[in-house]
């Protein structure tokens, strides 16, 4: 039985997964306290992780119906992410593993998102293309085996896709985090009403899109004082279409280039309905795990822990965390 712990951003997560990929528990405690700051504050996130981590881990064991004695491997996210946040989960996980003289797997967060595809009930076998899109990352990977290093085929040059959603939502007055609110607003809008750039480069870039929205809002305000509800819905729909188009267009190109016929989608943006239906239209086998496995969670970390090189006690006691922008997949 594998215990996974994940604290790379603002969700405190612990999960128990069986060696063959059955989720026994997957506890996610979303802090929900960062709205008042307009974004995730690293120090605030780290403080909350420390308050929550023991209870979340105990809850994960409880729901799985296992005791620590039945855990054979502990895995924790060691990066990339907010360093102060990561260190809480990593310190806790190393201590739990040490006390039982268990092996430990230091899991890269992005390997974790890939590992979500290796969980029941819908395990996807490599080779496949993995699209990971969230508030922190936007990547296209070629995954050739469960235990091999994925190859980065495209990455974002500036903002992450989820960040583009959140920033757009804020400009449209939808608060933070506003990705879901933007999607709701877009339902009543015309996605063809405004033209937004989706870019032609191999890599992703969302900074220009955000600026384009800012200018369109300014122009509209200059013209009519303020954008009315229909215009805002049209803007949201067009903006969302541009983000989804950028993701799906590049995914399609990469599928064609690699000749692969399977696609795994993960990350918080995979919750977006338009993206889900767009990837289903690509004519390949698509695996989009349920919501709690797309957003950050510890079941995916426990899953990936099965395939990364774990270290026996006491070799891992000094393992360190690494920040955003570091690690094997950048």
């Amino acid at each position: 039985m594998i215990l996974g712990i994940e604290t790379s951003c603002d969700d405190t997560c612990a999960a128990v997964v069986t060696p063959d990929g059955v989720i026994r528990s997957n506890v996610i405690s979303s802090q929900g306290i960062h709205d008042r700051y307009g974004g995730v504050v690293p120090e605030v996130a780290a403080r909350h992780h420390l308050e929550l981590i023991d209870a979340v881990t105990a809850d994960a064991l409880d729901r799985a119906g296992v005791s620590l004695d039945e855990i054979t491997l502990v895995g924790a996210t060691c990066g990339p992410g907010l360093i102060g946040a990561l260190l809480v989960g990593l310190a806790s996980a190393k201590a739990i593993a040490a006390a039982g003289e268990l092996p430990f797997a230091a899991v890269d967060h992005l390997h974790g998102h890939v590992g979500a595809a290796f969980l029941d009930p819908d395990q996807l076998d490599p080779p496949f293309v993995s699209l990971i899109a969230s508030g922190g990352h936007t990547l296209l990977l070629r995954v050739t085996s469960r235990d091999g290093e994925p190859e980065v085929l495209a990455r974002t040059l500036d903002d992450a896709a989820g960040e583009a959603f959140d920033k757009g939502a804020r400009m449209l007055g939808l608060g933070y985090p506003g990705g879901a609110a933007l999607e709701r607003l877009a339902r009543d809008g015309d996605p063809e009403a405004f033209a937004f750039p989706t870019g032609r480069t191999r890599d992703f870039s969302f900074a220009g899109l955000k600026t384009a929205l800012l200018y369109k809002l300014r122009d509209l305000e200059a013209d009519r004082g303020a954008a009315d509800d229909q215009l805002r819905a049209d803007l949201a729909a067009s903006y969302q279409q541009a983000i989804v188009g950028a993701l799906v267009g590049r995914t399609e190109r990469v599928l064609a280039e690699t000749g692969l016929t399977r696609l795994a989608v993960g990350g918080g943006v995979a919750a977006n309905g338009q993206l889900r239906s767009a990837v289903r239209g690509l004519g390949v086998t698509v695996s989009v795990p349920p919501g709690p496995l797309c957003t950050d969670n510890a079941a995916m970390i426990a899953s990936a822990a099965r395939y990364v090189r774990s270290q026996p006690y006491p070799e891992y006691l000094g393992v360190e965390a690494y920040a955003t922008g570091e690690g094997p997949l950048r």
């Binding site: 260190l87 809480v88 310190a91 190393k94 006691l317």
Partner: protein, 226 residues
């Protein structure tokens, strides 16, 4: 009683193991001033090394004590998350001892009240004042020049990395600062273990750091800044 103490409030990584015969073995990692602490990479290896040398296992621990700070936020979280993880996995009870209380306890006995002073950066120090185990001051964060106002009227002995760094200011304010090379300036595990075993602790169970300061973002929100 077999007890383990951890402290990561300062740039030092400090571990102490009390053996059944009540003797204490300490292992520590002190970094040069200005160097990054090595809490993450050193804390558990030092503790495992002490246990190993004593022929003990983690499950032999009968008490775990951790320094609560104040001190470096990240350091405190590493120490406390580690201590809580060990306690949860071994079943050993967990207690928290204020790091300033431990600093002062190690320097007590000279007939003077003792002020623990930890460098808080940003031009401030964390201060706690103790006399015979009683907490008379703090813990608070103040500018070094403001410490004199807190201690007025008595002959305080000041110890800790903050006392060393701001020696001139504190001495100008009437305090006695322990000599440059005195071990009293470093957080020691023996004092933490002594206080923990005696039950003279600041918290029990799921302990949390004594941050003293709010996060900057919270201060900004409260003061109405964007």
């Amino acid at each position: 009683m077999i007890a383990l103490a951890l402290d990561t409030a300062t740039s030092s990584t400090v571990v102490g193991l009390q053996l059944p015969d009540e003797t204490v073995r300490e292992a520590r990692d002190d970094v040069e001033p200005g160097q990054r602490p090595r809490h993450t990479s050193r804390l558990l290896p030092l503790a495992a090394g002490l246990l190993d040398a004593a022929g003990l296992r983690w499950h032999d621990l009968e008490l775990i004590a951790v320094g609560l700070g104040p001190g470096t936020f990240t350091g405190l979280r590493i120490g406390i998350a580690t201590a809580r993880g060990l306690a949860a996995a071994t079943g050993a009870p967990l207690v928290g001892v204020g790091t300033l209380r431990a600093l002062a306890a190690a320097a007590a006995g000279g007939g003077r009240p003792v002020l623990g002073v930890i460098d808080a950066r940003r031009g401030e120090v964390f201060v706690g004042g103790y006399d015979d185990g009683r907490e008379l001051i703090g813990p608070v964060a103040v500018a070094p020049a403001g410490v004199a106002d807190l201690v007025a009227g008595r002959d305080w002995l000041a110890v800790g990395d903050g006392a060393l760094r701001f020696r001139a200011v504190l001495e100008g304010g009437g305090m006695i600062v322990a000599p440059e090379r005195s071990p009293l300036h470093q957080v020691g595990s023996a004092a933490i273990l002594r206080l923990a075993v005696a039950g003279d602790v600041d918290a029990r169970g799921p302990v949390l750091p004594t941050y003293v300061r709010l996060p900057d973002a919270e201060l900004a929100v409260r003061s109405g800044q964007p």
